[in-house]
């Protein structure tokens, strides 16, 4: 039973790692975001294939939960980290997006003003 789960979880994490690598290679995923995904894949892989691994033993002992739950919990923890990281990134992007929109509107207004003056130099006012 345990070996079956180990194979499934191990395969899943290998697929995850493979996809992450592919996306980085094709430049569809920036390294800074990929790092958390890589860690997730590696951690789940290690914990699934190597239950006797010192850290996994330690984790099982302190939490008192058995192997599969430990793997799920670790994966969940990493996913939490990733989601949190994304919230921070989105907040930053939203702010930058707003700044750009405001700057864009201001420059467009200035540009139209200048264009008008350039095309009709006689009608300058203000």
């Amino acid at each position: 039973m345990l070996i079956k789960i180990q194979i499934i979880v191990g395969l899943l994490s290998i697929i995850l790692l493979f996809i992450t690598f592919e996306l980085i290679r094709k430049k569809r995923l920036r390294e800074e975001y990929a790092i958390l995904w890589l860690f997730t894949g590696i951690a789940v892989l290690v914990f699934s294939l190597w239950p006797e691994f010192l850290l996994s033993q330690f984790f099982v002992r302190i939490t008192g939960i058995f192997y599969l739950s430990a793997v799920v919990l670790i994966a969940f923890f990493f996913l939490l980290l990733i989601v949190f990281h994304f919230s921070v990134v989105i907040s930053k992007l939203t702010g930058q997006n707003k700044d750009l929109a405001q700057r864009h509107a201001f420059l467009e207004l200035e540009f139209n003003e200048l264009k008008k003056r350039y095309q009709h130099p006689d009608t300058i006012h203000s």
Binding site: K98, A101, Q102, H104, A105, F106, E108, L109
Partner: protein, 241 residues
């Protein structure tokens, strides 16, 4: 001296084609020496065209940013073009441009940085739903406590700001619930503010963005935002060149 002051009236507008023209006209009538800037917050109707045809300067945002982002864009314009005073007037017509004079006088006479128009000071008979009045009452209490000064109408968007406040708002303006949060921000940056009794009329068109059902939810969110604001690091004020 006071006649030399450059005054900008900022009118943030999102799909307000029914009323924006009238507001621009009224501001021109009651404040001929002021320039009108309509910030078109990504409207899908003729707001921008109508405002332009009425002789207002129109700042067209490429997409909808919300009232906070639009207002800040207006303050950035005021800052870049070195206006001395900026006045916020809603495009829906609930603020009477005739009352701008009161705000300007308060700025000058009371030596404050921001004058807040309040519909609850003075004689104005303002009808609004019970829920809404209750919400405003609670805000008013909470915000008065935070800023240590009586603020009767923290959600009012009818305000006048001097150069110092323009600079602050150009670089830092709250985005989520800008009116009450801006009051807290002003307090954190130690700018002086004061309330001025003004009349507010019914909207010319459009509906309040706060519906009855959502008002409780809105209130909780605003209170939460204000609570979080209290723990934010106040931005450093830029020194005037």
């Amino acid at each position: 001296m006071e006649k030399e002051e450059k005054i900008l009236v900022i009118v943030p507008a999102y799909n307000e084609e029914g009323s924006v023209g009238k507001v621009v006209d009224e501001v021109h009538t009651h404040l001929p020496r002021g320039e009108v800037l309509v910030v078109n917050d990504g409207s899908t109707d003729f707001t921008s065209k109508i405002a332009k045809s009425k002789g207002a300067v129109v700042l067209d945002l490429p997409f909808n940013l919300g009232i906070g982002g639009a207002m800040q864009a207006g303050y950035q314009y005021a800052s870049e073009k070195s206006y001395d005073i900026a006045i916020q007037v809603d495009a829906d017509g609930q603020h009477d441009p005739e009352e701008i004079g009161k705000l300007l006088r308060a700025l000058e006479e009371r030596k404050i940085d921001v004058a807040l128009g309040s519909r609850f000071l003075g004689t104005s008979e303002f009808r609004s739903s019970l829920m809404r009045r209750m919400g405003i009452f609670i805000f008013s209490r909470v915000i008065s406590m935070i800023v240590g000064q009586k603020i009767t109408d923290p959600t009012s968007g009818f305000r006048a700001a001097n150069r110092k406040a323009i600079q602050l708002f150009a670089s830092n303006y709250p985005q989520d619930y800008p009116e009450p949060e801006a009051v807290v921000l002003l307090h954190q940056c130690r700018l002086k503010m004061g309330e001025v009794p003004v009349e507010m009329s019914e909207r010319y068109s459009g509906e309040s963005s706060i519906t009855k059902i959502r008002s409780v939810y809105y209130m909780v969110k605003v209170l939460l935002a204000i609570f979080v604001d209290c723990f934010k690091k106040p931005p450093a004020l830029e020194q005037e060149k």
